[in-house]
Structure formats: structure tokens, C-alpha cells
């Protein structure tokens, strides 16, 4: 994939043809804060680079290089939120042999701030996942799995917030339906609930009750499907306060983020970074203070 450089006008005012509705007050405001979001998904225990065997991904990825890259970005001095959208486990013998312990240790060392749970994170059973939790120094967020009758009942958060000065960021997690995807014996008494209902409930808590200025969904639903199976694209269309969906499951490599309209016709950004830790997604948010209609949230999108 080539690095591409272009600017995409994301402000839906212009996308919808209402070119002159940019609030005057926004013109006088200025950027007060920059947040760098780094994200991965579906790393699938790929701790070492793919072996140099002439295959397509030979030499790609690797946790030690990812850690160094993250450090370089942290050294730029901006606040960094490091996130993962699930399927941390399964795919190399590291997982088969050590059950996910080293994946958790390495992510903790890199300073991950939160992750959600993917279907393959149940591959050593729900007890197997619970057993690795002490090796993770970051929380797991998921809002549509009821885990009360499982060993994970005290290990998972539905959402989490971060405060940076005046600016508050909220994150909630969404998991894929496990039935038919993961053997029941592995997910145990986990109860899957409708992701859209869970999203609506938690984005509202984050945005309205807790006053978050920006709401992120860590999703393992999958980018998009034929038919009406719930996906990140459908989720974006059905929500009202979610600004960014960091997805996974479908191992989708993207040339640019997808921008969808939410229920209020406001833009929602959907991003995913393929799989196996080949890429690190980077999203820089530039916050302004000002009087603004929610329609202007998102502003200009630059892809580089």
C-alpha cells in the first residue's frame, strides 16, 4: 500500500451541499489540543515478523518493531491513546503454547490503554482468557456481552473515559455474535446482546452523562458484509454520538478510512488496519474550542 496524500473534506455541511453553514465562531477558534490515537486489530499472536520464506507477508510486522515505532510517535510529545480491537490471540504457536500470556505482556510493555475482545480471544476458553488478565495492565472494554455468570464478571468494563485537561474522551467496546462462530464450550455463559442497542446506550452515557467530547467505539463486529449482518458501517448509520469506529474481525486493509453518516447525518469515521500487526493505524485529532453545531464535528480529514 502506498502512502497516499490527499485531503478529504469531511465536514458534512459541504458533503451535503450546504456550503455556507460553517459557524462563524468556529473560524475564530483555534486548536487547543492534539490527541494521537494509535490502533491495531487482529494481531493474532503475530509477535515475530512473518518468516522470510518468500510468502506474501514475509518480513512484515513484529512486536519489537511496533514497540519502537510507538515509542518514536510518543516522542513527538502529543498525548497518545493506544488501542486494540480484538483477536489478540491465535495464529502462531506462541498462543497454542503459552495461552496468550506473552501477547498480554508485550502489549502491556508497549503501553496499550484499552482493548476489546474478539472471537478468537475465547479460543482457550473463557477461563483461558481470564487467566491471562493479570498479565495485562490495560482494561478490556466491551458493552454488549453480559459476563455476570462468567469468570470475567469482574475483569471487563463496558466503557472507559480519559480526561486531558478540559477534554474528555470516551470509549466503549462491541463484540461479535459468538454463536456459530465460537464453540459454546469456549464462551461459556457469555450472553451476546444487540450491538446497536448497547452502542446507543453507552454512547449516550459517554456523551451526555459523562460529557465526553469525542466517543470512540472499539469494535470487533467486522467492517461490512453482504446482506444486513451488523457491521461497523451499519453501526455508524444507526448511532448518534459515536465519532470514530476502530474495527476488526474482517482483516480489512484500507487505503483511507470510510466515512459514513450517522442518524443525524453527521460523519462517523471507520478505520481498520488489516491484521497480524503489519500496520499501525494512526489518527490525529485536533481539538478546537468554540461554538459549534455538532454537524461540524470531524472537520477536515487528511490522509497521508
Amino acid at each position: 500500500m502506498n502512502r497516499r496524500k490527499f485531503v478529504k473534506n469531511l465536514s458534512y455541511a459541504s458533503a451535503l451541499g450546504y456550503l455556507n453553514t460553517l459557524p462563524i465562531s468556529a473560524m475564530f477558534s483555534q486548536e487547543v489540543f492534539r490527541l494521537t490515537i494509535l490502533h491495531t486489530n487482529d494481531v493474532h499472536s503475530r509477535l515475530d515478523p512473518f518468516p522470510m520464506d518468500g510468502s506474501r507477508n514475509a518480513g512484515q510486522g513484529g512486536a519489537a518493531k511496533r514497540a519502537a515505532l510507538i515509542d518514536t510517535i510518543r516522542a513527538e510529545g502529543n498525548q497518545v491513546l493506544l488501542l486494540d480491537s480484538g483477536d489478540i490471540f491465535q495464529g502462531t504457536p506462541y498462543f497454542n503454547m503459552f495461552g496468550g500470556e506473552i501477547e498480554m505482556k508485550v502489549m502491556s510493555d508497549m503501553g496499550y490503554d484499552a482493548a476489546t475482545i474478539g472471537n478468537h480471544d475465547f479460543d482457550a476458553g473463557i477461563e483461558g482468557l481470564k487467566k491471562q488478565m493479570p498479565h495485562a495492565n490495560f482494561p478490556f472494554v466491551i458493552s454488549n456481552y453480559v459476563l455476570e455468570d462468567t469468570p470475567l464478571h469482574d475483569s471487563i468494563l463496558p466503557y472507559k473515559t480519559w480526561q486531558y485537561g478540559n477534554i474528555k474522551i470516551g470509549i466503549y467496546g462491541l463484540g461479535i455474535e459468538l454463536r456459530g462462530l465460537v464453540p459454546e464450550s469456549l464462551y461459556g455463559n457469555t450472553v451476546y446482546q444487540d450491538p446497536i442497542q448497547a452502542a446507543k446506550k453507552h454512547e449516550k452515557i459517554l456523551s451526555e452523562e459523562l460529557g465526553c467530547h469525542y466517543v470512540i467505539c472499539l469494535s470487533h463486529l467486522g467492517y461490512q458484509y453482504r446482506g444486513n449482518k451488523i457491521s461497523d458501517v451499519i453501526l455508524a448509520n444507526q448511532t448518534q454520538h459515536t465519532d470514530l469506529i476502530l474495527g476488526g474481525h474482517t482483516h480489512t486493509f484500507m487505503d483511507e478510512p470510510r466515512v459514513e453518516k450517522n442518524l443525524n447525518d453527521h460523519p462517523v469515521i471507520i478505520n481498520q488496519t488489516g491484521w497480524a500487526g503489519i500496520l499501525l493505524g494512526r489518527i490525529d485529532l485536533f481539538f478546537e474550542k468554540g461554538k459549534v453545531r455538532k454537524a461540524q464535528k470531524g472537520g477536515n480529514l487528511l490522509i497521508r
Binding site: 502512502r3 468556529a26 477558534s29 487547543v32 489540543f33 509477535l47 515475530d48 515478523p49 510468502s55 518480513g59 512484515q60 513484529g62 519489537a64 518493531k65 514497540a67 515505532l69 518514536t72 491465535q90 495464529g91 502462531t92 504457536p93 498462543f95 497454542n96 503454547m97 506473552i102 505482556k105 508485550v106 510493555d109 508497549m110 478468537h120 479460543d123 456459530g180 462462530l181 467530547h213 465519532d243 483511507e256 469515521i269 478505520n271 503489519i278 500496520l279 499501525l280 493505524g281 489518527i283 490525529d284 485536533f286 478546537e288 468554540g290 461554538k291 459549534v292 453545531r293 455538532k294 461540524q296 464535528k297 470531524g298 472537520g299 477536515n300 480529514l301 487528511l302 490522509i303 497521508r304
Partner: protein
């Protein structure tokens, strides 16, 4: 002014106020995809240190040679040498662990996680790379119509690996001339076939399989393959597989 209209104008004011309040918002968003393999990125020593003891233990187990492969095996559709190799092993190991006769086995295409397997010594790590997922063997019982439905699903997917004991042709996304052990599929005859439990449970769009009678062998497919290869090696056999015309796609020929 009635209470009703006071309430109305109050909520209107509130609406206007909330739509245009002073707040913080992301006015610009900048996105990049950073490629991890790029040469200028150094490896982080701390992470390498963390990994080292695990890597050492892993390699000690995974580098163990358990057999010998006489030819390179390729993953392709509709039929492939690696698919035939794996599906035949699945059939043999399912049969070995089931008292009733099994007619054939199916391995889902997506369950094979390598594009090829080089000839030469086979290590335990090779088998893990081919099949990292902890799928177990399930045995399904269905009549010929149920088998036809499954074959149609595979034809739609441009061909999944099948073992000896079954063959079909693909025409316009349908399976035609389905034969089992040399005989035309009979709609009301009962067939028994081995599949990964993932498929028996409806995975990869196989939801229609869920209505069939199912028996789960508590046996990981990967472990069954390792056992199979080691047994062959003990008896002096190498591994070998080729395409045999089990699946023929008429649409593209």
C-alpha cells in the same frame, strides 16, 4: 401565555443553546497507516527481551521434525494438493476414532492458513502454521439431499477441499454429478462425513448443516494430523499428495 407555550419556548431555547454551545470538538482529523516492516524502524530491546525465553521454548518444540514431504503442496481452488492431503488425513483420523463407517471428509478452504507447504522435512511448527485454530473433528449424518446442499455451498465458494470418497463438478456455481465412492449420490441414502466442528456449527455460511445429526470427537484436527504424520513416519512412509480430479470446475474450463 399558557404553560404549554412557555414550556415550548423554553425547550426551543434549550435546543438552540445546546446546538450551539461552546465546547471542544475535533475540527481536523489526520489518518495514516504506518507499515511496521519498514527498514528504518529498529527493534525495541525491551520487547525482544520479553519475547526471548518464550521464543526459545516455542522453537524447541516447533522445530521438531515429525515427517517428510515428497512434493510441494499448494493451496488453490477448486482442488488443491494441500487440500487433498488434509482432507484425506481428516477422513482417516475420523475413521480411526469412530466405530461407524465414514464416507468422506470436508476441510473448509478458509481453515487452511498457508498458501503452500515446501517439500522436505515436516516440523510440528509447519502443522501449526497450516492449522493454527483449535478445531475439532465432528461427524455429521445426512441424506443425499443434505450432501447435495453442502456440495452446492462448496461449489458457490469455488470449491473446498474434499477427501477421497466424494467428487463433484462445478457448473454455474452449483455442484453437479456428485459421486460418493464411485456411485451417483442417492437422495434418500444416509451418508456420514467428517468436518471441522467449526463447519458443523454453521461456520463459513454452513448454517444448513446445523440441522443434521452431529457427533463430536473430542479430538483437535491439528493433533490428529500430527499423530497421523508421525505414525506414517514410524511405518516408513513419506507424505505425498496431488490433484486427482476430485473437483472439476466446468464453468472456467
Amino acid at each position: 401565555m399558557t404553560y404549554r407555550s412557555i414550556y415550548l419556548s423554553f425547550s426551543l431555547a434549550l435546543l438552540l443553546f445546546s446546538a450551539c454551545r461552546t465546547t471542544y470538538f475535533a475540527s481536523r482529523t489526520q489518518v495514516a497507516y504506518e507499515r511496521i516492516s519498514e527498514a528504518h524502524i529498529e527493534s525495541d530491546d525491551e520487547v525482544n527481551h520479553l519475547l526471548a525465553p518464550y521464543r526459545q521454548k516455542m522453537n524447541a518444540k516447533m522445530d521438531k521434525e515429525i515427517g517428510y514431504l515428497d512434493t510441494i503442496l499448494i493451496k488453490e481452488r477448486p482442488e488443491s494438493s494441500i487440500g487433498n492431503w488434509l482432507a484425506d488425513m481428516l477422513l482417516e483420523e475420523a475413521q480411526r476414532n469412530s466405530p461407524d463407517s465414514i464416507d468422506f471428509a470436508v476441510q473448509n478452504y478458509g481453515g487452511i492458513r498457508v498458501t503452500s507447504l515446501a517439500s522436505g522435512p515436516i516440523t510440528i511448527g509447519d502443522v501449526y502454521e497450516v492449522m493454527p485454530f483449535d478445531n475439532m473433528i465432528s461427524i455429521l449424518t445426512a441424506d443425499g439431499r443434505g450432501v447435495q446442499e453442502f456440495m452446492d455451498h462448496m461449489a458457490k465458494g469455488r470449491g473446498w477441499p474434499i477427501s477421497r470418497g466424494i467428487q463433484y463438478k462445478i457448473k454455474n456455481g452449483k455442484a453437479i454429478e456428485v459421486m460418493s465412492n464411485g456411485r451417483v449420490l442417492e437422495p434418500y441414502k444416509t451418508y456420514r462425513f467428517a468436518v471441522p466442528d467449526y463447519i458443523a456449527g454453521g461456520g463459513s455460511g454452513s448454517f444448513f448443516l446445523k440441522r443434521h445429526q452431529r457427533q463430536d470427537l473430542n479430538l483437535l484436527i491439528r493433533d490428529a494430523f500430527i499423530t497421523h504424520i508421525m505414525r506414517d513416519t514410524d511405518q516408513g512412509f513419506h507424505q505425498y499428495a496431488s490433484k486427482e480430479g476430485r473437483i472439476i470446475n466446468l464453468t472456467y474450463e
